[in-house]
Subunit: 417 residues, 2 copies
């Protein structure tokens, strides 16, 4: 089963917003064995939309469209649907009642004509009811292709994908199994890893596909299996992952199904009944906010001190001014002291501390731009590492965050084994 995702909106094409909807839809469909052939972002222009529909018609089974459904954009997308399906707009009473409830009840203001117009849907469309917003989803079939229109607001789109679109696809279509397993490696670059596993890669059967996902400092290897016999695929995946592990056991730090590192870490900490806190300078709270975004994390996340200003390191974390003067604020000694201080202050089992110079100009130290010290306090010791993450600023912050989480992951893995 093949699908194409279209996002409509000039704001995407001028780079004012980044399209995160397509990625969410792709992930949700990939999980149930739907293959995404393309993702396309186009303008709000009716003819452009019609041309794109025409090109996809009968070439894919499913076209998912997001955006173009806010009250001021209704017209374009809905009228395009009417044109394309030779249809007309009718009032859907269930949608009208819902919109009225939401506007008059929750927002406590009279309903406007534009709100009312949101209840207009093409007569041939199956309405996908949007409980978390006012714009309904629509599902219309033309010959061999189903066109599904979804609102552009991310959480509304997500609600409809999870509660309406995916269940409907599972019910109405048979699909192959697609299973991904990801191997996390650490410490060697993409070309190095590729050379080591070349022979193994060449021996993979055709239903297994390998992808390299390099990111600063680490490489993920994703092995994907595709077929109709789930048991067979699982067995084959396991066999080939085992033979891979023999070749590069020194750099494999873990496996993941489909989770981010912060989700895995939170789960591992909770399982072990351990807690974490952070003291952040150059990372500015990014580590804390990533951990805090994980649902249910309050049982293992204590909090953070973001000591951005050098004086805050003294005033709040109690790092002696003399230490900062002797070793410089960007130093292993200060990183270590910060980790120990926040560990004690928040009574956490683990604590991460960062101090560095993210650039673009030098700050309160002479350290080269890109220099970062990361300290990890465990219940037994403090580990400090020095890095140079180069430039620009966003790369330095990003690598500081992920390197910190990797250091924590290594420690936690160690305790499990």
């Amino acid at each position: 089963m093949k699908a194409t995702i279209i996002t409509i909106g000039d704001e995407i094409l001028i780079g004012q917003i980044v399209d995160t909807n397509s990625g969410f839809i792709a992930k949700s469909l990939d999980r149930i064995g739907v293959e995404i052939t393309e993702m396309i972002s186009i303008s709000d222009d009716k003819q452009h939309i019609l041309d794109t529909f025409e090109k996809l018609q009968d070439n894919v089974d499913l076209v998912l469209i997001t955006g173009g459904l806010g009250p001021t954009k209704d017209d374009v997308t809905k009228k395009t649907f009417c044109d394309y399906f030779e249809d007309e707009l009718i009032v859907n009473q269930k949608v009208l009642a819902h919109v009225t409830d939401l506007i008059e009840g929750f927002y406590n203001r009279p309903i406007t004509q534009m709100n009312k117009d949101q209840a207009l849907v093409p007569s041939k469309a199956t309405v996908l009811h949007n409980k978390v917003g006012t714009a309904p989803g629509m599902w219309v079939k033309k010959r061999n292709t189903v066109f599904v229109s979804l609102p552009g607001v991310p959480y509304e789109m997500k609600y409809l994908v999870e509660n309406e679109v995916v269940p409907k696809i599972i019910k109405e279509y048979s699909r192959p199994y697609i299973i991904h397993k990801t191997v996390l490696t650490y410490g060697q670059g993409e070309s190095m890893v590729a050379e080591r596993i070349e022979a193994w890669e060449d021996s993979l059967p055709s239903f297994l596909r390998l992808a390299y996902l390099p990111s600063p400092g680490r490489v993920k290897l994703r092995l994907s299996a595709r077929g109709t016999d789930k048991e067979f695929l699982d067995a084959e995946l396991e066999k080939h992952l085992l033979s891979l592990a023999v070749i590069i056991s020194d750099i494999i730090v873990g496996y993941e199904e489909d989770e981010t590192i912060e989700v895995m870490l939170a789960a591992a900490l909770q399982k072990q009944g351990k807690t974490i806190a952070t003291a952040e300078s150059c990372s500015g709270g990014s580590i804390a906010s990533l951990i805090a975004a994980v649902p249910g994390v309050s049982s293992c996340f204590k909090g953070s001190v973001v000591a951005y200003d050098t004086r805050i390191k003294t005033a709040v974390l109690g790092i002696p001014e003399a230490m900062i003067e002797e070793f410089s604020v960007v130093s292993a000694t200060v990183a270590k002291a910060m980790a120990l201080s926040v560990q004690k202050m928040m009574q956490s089992d683990y604590a991460i501390a960062t101090t560095g110079n993210a650039g673009p100009s030098k700050g309160d130290s002479d350290a080269e731009i890109g220099t970062v010290f990361i300290a990890l306090a465990t219940p037994d010791e403090v580990i400090v590492e020095e890095f140079n993450f180069g430039q620009p600023r966003e790369k330095v912050i990003d690598r500081t965050v992920y390197k910190s989480l990797e250091m924590l992951q290594k420690e936690i893995f160690k305790n499990v084994l």
Copy 2:
């Protein structure tokens, strides 16, 4: 001048990574008057890439391609280029010297065959030198269309766009002016705003285009002008923005050229010589990390206490246990106390505090999921507002962050006027 952006990579099509490269390229080209017709994400498959090139050939002036340039993916993209341009790969000595320097000098390990292969480029290509990585960019013209291939690693792509691609386009092509002005409104929904300005919108000349960019709690109105006479466009934009301001002066909170709210806030604080600190519970450090990501922010950003665990509010911020027990941890009183505490602790002029229940389940209070209190301490007073941001968790955190920044922006604007 028209351009299309292509991103190549299976990891995008299965939703494992979100394509942020296209947005960056689009923004950079839009600024210099290049119109983006489409953004397309496709798989690593050679035939698929060739078909896409063929469809775009002579229909757009420029095709920008990212991804598919890592050492293990070199083969596909470069060989596709050779096929499409009837060309062959040759060693580029300048690239080889650079790759050797980078690997042997910076990474301090011997160069591998795969590294060496990165210096292979199609003979007809103009090489765009990538000083921040090993994969070179390539610029090849076929009839009326230029194809530019860029690495997929975001900061390498950005380096090449800013330092090579944009200057080359400016030098070689004449383009119209595209000017965007964005009006920030606050407090009314998209449909409400649209109804109020309907007559104004209908009277806009054809070279001005209006777009609504709604996000939770606020609506941005973007007015875009396109033409060859920059002075005329500037004057027309100003005229129509003034007449718009007369109609909705009650909800306009600001204007932006092309900046995010945190960049504008940092600039305003620095101009006034004021500082900010945050005390975050439900937002988990997201406000701090957003502010800390702004370059040069150290002169106005002191730091933050992320008091995620309720006990940390007492232990670190000194919020009395009795107060938490009497008013609950999610309350105006506690928010206010948090803001005052961090303002004092960090000796900042302004302080933002957040406490709420982001869900998915209830935490240390009985407050309904989605309830958030935001307090803003100014040099003169403390303002507290209560919100219900509904669900899900990511929406609650996101709205807490932006509402906080908006409250601060309102205060700072007030001081300027």
